[in-house]
Symmetry: C2
Subunit: 140 residues, 2 copies
C-alpha cells in the first residue's frame, strides 16, 4: 500500500503548481477571473498561497484582500460567489487565470463585470448598467 | 473659438482616464489582454502612464517591462503585435482590460496564450500546443 500522491492530499496544493507559481515580494500573484462559458473577464484580484489552497480544496474562489489584509471568500458578504471550473497558470507563473461560474454579479457596484468603463470617443464612458442594487448585496 | 478638449489632444491620455487609473507604488497597473472576438485571455503584463499613452496614440499595444525596466511595443522583436480595439478600466482603477487583435501568438513560448497550463487531475498539465517555433520568432 502506497501513500496517496501529495498532489491529491486534501488541503494541499499540487506540488508542481506550487513550484511553478512565482509569488511577488508580498507573497501574491495576480488572478484574473473569467466566466467559463461566455468568456467575460469579470474581475482581477490577488491570491496568496492560502487563497489558492482554499480555492482548490473547496471549489469556492478565495482571494487575498490587500486593503483588509485578509483572506476572503468571493461572495461571503454579497452572496455573489464564484465556483472554480479550472485554474490555469501563465508562462512565467506570476498570473493565474480562474475559469469560474459567477453567481449574479462580480462587481461591488452591482455590475456583472468590474470592467464597465471604456475609452470611447476620447473619454471614459460607462458601458454596462447596474444589474443589482448594491444595497441589496451589502445593505445600506 | 475654443480650444479642443484635452481628452482629444493627440498624444495625451484622456484626462478622465488618467484621473481614474490607480497606479501602484511603482507607477504601474496590471493589464489583461483579451482577444476581442474569441474572448481568449492572451496574457497579463504591466503598463505605466507612458505605455497607456503610446498605446492610445498609436493603436499598437505597449507595455512596461519590469525585468528590462523599459517600455516595449508588443511584437517589436517577434512580430506578434497587438492592435488595440478597446481599453477598459476596472471599478477601482488598478487594472486595465485591453481588447486586442493579436497577430499570431501572444506567448514567447510560441503558444497562442500564455495560460497554457491548467490544474487537472491533481497536477499541472500543458493544455495548449506550440503553434510557432520560438526560434522563428526570436532566432536561436
Amino acid at each position: 500500500m502506497s501513500a496517496p500522491p501529495a498532489s491529491s492530499t486534501p488541503g494541499s496544493m499540487p506540488g508542481d503548481l506550487l513550484a511553478n507559481v512565482a509569488f511577488d515580494r508580498d507573497g501574491l500573484v495576480v488572478a484574473v477571473a473569467q466566466q467559463h462559458d461566455t468568456g467575460e473577464v469579470l474581475m482581477v484580484a490577488w491570491m496568496n498561497r492560502a487563497a489558492i489552497e482554499r480555492t482548490l480544496e473547496t471549489g469556492d474562489v478565495h482571494y487575498w484582500s490587500r486593503s483588509r489584509m485578509k483572506l476572503w471568500r468571493k461572495g461571503e458578504t454579497s452572496g455573489q460567489a464564484q465556483r472554480l471550473i479550472e485554474l490555469r497558470v501563465d508562462c512565467d507563473g506570476d498570473t493565474l487565470l480562474l475559469l469560474v461560474d459567477q453567481t449574479g454579479v462580480a462587481c461591488h457596484t452591482g455590475r456583472r463585470t468590474c470592467f464597465f468603463r471604456a475609452v470611447r470617443h476620447g473619454r471614459l464612458e460607462t458601458i454596462a448598467e447596474v444589474a443589482v442594487d448594491p444595497k441589496t448585496l451589502y445593505g445600506d
